[in-house]
């Protein structure tokens, strides 16, 4: 329940009204005032009060609370995409900070509610997460802590292997083709778990699974098209126990829940920053708070070498777009105009800026946003460049200020949320029921030791050898883990497996 002080509550009401007047449209937003220790916990849990037990949250918490105690970092704002939205304020922050956070949060809430990439999000995720936690705790009681933890470790290892772009198709990701039959075709529905072995005798189920596997083997290629959602594929086709399937499903659901936030980071932060800046400077701040606001705001917007700042790029792009659409600097006439002076004084008084940015927050994600609205003028005005590491001096150097290079670099960083794209090419590789993964190489090699460890985890799930085709050191290579040994074959000499383009 909201537990704001009277003063904060009256500010909240004011800011909420201001946000509504600005045209922001959000679910009811509940603010809670909590201590830094609680905020560290909730942040470690990815914003939620209850998660399934796992040491990774403990590690996250340890780091967050330490770095706060040492004065290295501070979490100002946290908001959860649910209906109603929950947001947290930290006890002891100054009133100006609290107001800033509230204004910022209303920006996020508006974005969550309206951006199309969130349209299929489960808005009751708070309950869902708690439900997941209960289920996993039940499995822990039944199968033991270590057993379940080990399995979760394997699942988390592949949680990024989902198809982020499918989130608009169905609420829970794409459907997986079913080769012949899925388990449910020969298993009866069981309400009481203790009846399971009687209704579906394990021998019978195993036999059916074997048959199913054999019929899969006879298919020319399975899956017929490479599959991006590897997690889903494994849920349906790996030889997993029911509880294991359930855990993997939980991990996948949570991964899909967080995916749109990763895809709209720049847009979302830019949007919230645009609005906190707008509301604070025009409506909320009193005279004595201006300096503190400027200090805090510029601290947030600071972009340092080696770190891309989504707040900065986002807010500046929104402002640039608003300005351009207000002055009519778009469309064919604008694009074709080469006269520098004319471009500089271009003002058709179209006044479409506000409308345009609201449209953008509705239908774009980071990739399409940068692709469409990052302009050469913008890069020059903001002195943007691509830097690279100079191996000899071990320092970052400006590589180029070429617009195309900047844009390409930004887009590359954002595509697939900065993660490599990996597909299942064949689940019956060499007709031995082995899995063949295909890394779509885009100029960067995979981290070898992580690749090794991850393949071992895939093996634990698939329980048959795992192969991965990728480029390593400019050479196509096939890596293979067969349960005991990790081997590497160059695909240059022997042209055995055919990596599909």
């Amino acid at each position: 329940m909201a537990n704001l002080t009277l003063e904060l509550e009256s500010e909240r009401k004011k800011i909420c009204q201001i946000a509504k007047n600005c045209g922001l449209d959000f679910f009811e937003t509940i603010f809670e005032l909590i201590t830094y220790d609680q905020i560290s916990q909730i942040a470690a849990y990815g914003g939620f009060p209850v998660r399934y037990p796992h040491w990774k949250f403990g590690m996250e918490y340890e780091q967050l609370s330490k770095s706060y105690e040492y004065g290295l970092s501070k979490i100002y704002e946290m908001v959860i995409n649910t209906d109603p939205c929950y947001a947290y304020l930290m006890e002891g922050n100054s009133m100006m900070d609290q107001k800033l956070v509230m204004a910022h949060v209303y920006g996020h809430c508006d974005f969550f509610k309206n951006n199309v990439w969130f349209s299929k999000t489960n808005r009751k995720m708070m309950d869902e997460m708690a439900n997941h936690a209960t289920r996993i705790r039940r499995y822990i009681d039944r199968y033991g802590y270590e057993e379940v933890e080990k399995f979760i470790d394997s699942c988390l290892s592949i949680e990024n292997l989902i198809d982020r772009h499918s989130i608009l198709n169905t609420p829970k990701g794409p459907k997986i083709e079913s080769p012949v039959s899925s388990a449910s075709d020969f298993m009866f529905k069981v309400d009481k778990s203790y009846m399971r072995n009687y209704i579906n005798p394990p021998d019978y189920v195993a036999e059916q699974k074997q048959k199913q596997l054999e019929s899969q083997m006879h298919k020319a290629k399975f899956p017929s098209e490479p599959v991006r959602d590897i997690v889903s594929f494994l849920i349906h086709h790996a030889p997993l126990e029911e509880w294991q399937q359930d855990i993997l499903t939980i991990i996948r659901d949570e991964s899909y829940y967080f995916a749109p936030q990763g895809m709209t980071k720049t847009l979302n932060e830019g949007w919230a920053s645009y609005w906190h800046s707008h509301m604070m400077t025009r409506h909320i701040l009193n005279d004595s708070e201006i300096i503190d606001f400027a200090d805090h705001h510029s601290g947030t917007m600071f972009m340092q070498m080696g770190g891309y700042n989504p707040y900065k790029v986002g807010i500046e792009l929104f402002r640039d777009i608003e300005n351009r659409w207000n002055k009519g600097q778009f469309g064919r006439d604008w694009e074709e105009c080469d006269d520098v002076r004319e471009r500089k004084n271009w003002n058709k008084n179209t006044r479409l800026g506000r409308e345009k940015i609201f449209e953008i927050r509705k239908i774009y994600n980071d990739v399409t946003f940068i692709d469409e609205f990052l302009t050469e003028d913008f890069c020059i005005r903001h002195k943007m460049f691509v830097y690279k590491m100079n191996k000899e001096t071990q320092k970052f150097e400006i590589d180029t200020r070429d617009f195309k290079a900047i844009k390409a670099q930004l887009l590359f960083q954002m595509t697939n949320f900065g993660q490599p794209i990996i597909k299942i090419d064949n689940a019956n590789f060499e007709n031995r029921g082995e899995i063949l993964l295909q890394h779509i190489h885009e100029g960067l090699d995979l981290q070898p030791n992580y690749m090794d460890a991850t393949m071992r985890n895939v093996f634990k799930l698939w329980q048959r050898p795992v192969n991965l085709v990728t480029m390593m050191d400019n050479e196509p290579q096939l890596f293979r883990f067969d349960g005991n040994e990790y081997t590497k074959h160059s695909l240059k000499q022997e042209k055995k497996p055919e990596p599909a383009a």
Binding site: L156, Q304, F385, V386, I398
Partner: protein, 366 residues
């Protein structure tokens, strides 16, 4: 909070890692360099959930903002840029804090060390005052409100005068409760470790590093058993002097070796500051075993026999192998005291033997 469960699990995973790799930490000096009062900081490779991700090259390129010409070192470039990017590359180090107490536990577990039975702990007692008692009289400042109220409430209820609709409780004289001092007798466990080291020319850097590592682990283990552990340091070549810890490990002399000089100084220290009726005394002597003369050795043996062994918990001698040392002293001691378990001897050939040697020293539980 639920997070505690995860945090404890994470910590126990880390401790498991330290335990698995314990030998490496024992023989590795960097750990001691990160010592604070209560904690040791141990650098561990970040435990991470592996996933398919890009290699370190990902961080070598990016988009920035600011002035400057191409190929110019980028302005505003932060030196820490590389470190920051580390969590992507998987070479990030996680610094975990492990308390000395926990470290001692791991040490004890790994080496199967017995608990130390402090000498004469039953006789030596210390009195300690604790405000844990309750009395019916006392100064107002020590009045316990809750207890007083409870007492009054129970009186009301038992006499049937309690009225739930009008729950006013007025305590009277005999309801009042006060905190009072309780004297507790604690076994007194004062202990002193006196380190003596041969710093003559024949002891090299490596030998001293071994002593440094050993002394750290010995302290760790003893600290677990004795709350107020004192340490004293004596260096000697032909003459002995008392120094502080830093000097102890840094000094390098070139003279000859008279072991008796150190033993005599140690005797003086014990006589002056540490009566054996009150103190658990642990002298440790490290040398390469090359004494100047047989006569001096005889003097040492008689000092041991007459002064040290009756007074100390255990006298430990560690002989560090060096190119120059003859190692004769160890043999002499063995000959003389082979049956006496108040003297512990250990031979430390190299770093890898440190663990064995610690076990030699502490394995007796004395």
């Amino acid at each position: 909070m639920a997070i505690r469960e995860d945090q404890n699990r994470f910590k126990s995973i880390i401790k498991g890692k330290v335990r698995d790799d314990f030998k490496r930490y024992v023989t590795n000096g960097e750990l001691i360099g990160r010592r604070e009062d209560e904690f040791v900081k141990i650098p561990l490779p970040r435990i991470d959930i592996p996933s398919f991700r890009y290699g370190p090259k990902q961080n070598e390129k990016g988009v920035g903002q600011g002035d400057g010409e191409p190929d110019e070192s980028a302005s505003g470039s932060s030196e820490s840029g590389q470190g920051k990017a580390g969590d992507q590359a998987g070479e990030h180090l996680l610094e975990v804090e492990i308390s000395i107490e926990e470290l001692a536990e791991i040490l004890g577990e790994k080496l199967e060390l017995p608990r130390i039975e402090p000498k004469g702990s039953k006789n030596i007692l210390a009195e300690k005052n604790k405000y844990s008692g309750i009395a019916p009289v006392g100064p107002e400042g020590l009045r316990k409100f809750k207890q007083t109220y409870k007492k009054a409430l129970s009186r009301y209820i038992s006499t049937g005068t309690y009225d739930p609709d009008h729950p006013v409780i007025v305590p009277i004289r005999r309801d009042f409760q006060y905190r009072t001092v309780k004297k507790t007798q604690l076994p007194h466990t004062k202990a002193v470790v006196i380190y003596m080291m041969d710093v003559s020319g024949s002891m090299g850097e490596e030998q001293k590093e071994i002593v440094r590592l050993e002394s750290f682990w010995i302290n760790t283990w003893l600290k677990k058993h004795y709350k107020g552990l004192e340490t004293r340091f004596i260096i000697h070549d032909a003459a002995a002097k008392e120094v502080d810890e830093e000097t102890f490990f840094k000094t390098s002399e070139s003279g000859g070796t008279l072991i008796s000089s150190a033993y005599k100084l140690c005797q003086q220290i014990i006589e002056a500051d540490y009566p054996s009726s009150e103190w658990n005394i642990y002298p440790f002597h490290f040398s390469d075993g090359d004494n100047w003369s047989g006569e001096d050795t005889r003097l040492c043996l008689s000092l041991l026999k007459e002064f040290f062994l009756p007074r100390v918990n255990v006298f430990s001698y560690g002989q560090v192998e060096s190119k120059y040392g003859s190692g004769q002293f160890l043999k002499d001691l063995q000959k003389e005291f082979s049956q006496d378990d108040r003297l512990t001897l250990s031979q430390i050939e190299n770093r890898d033997k440190i663990l064995n040697s610690i076990k030699d020293f502490l394995g007796k539980g004395k």
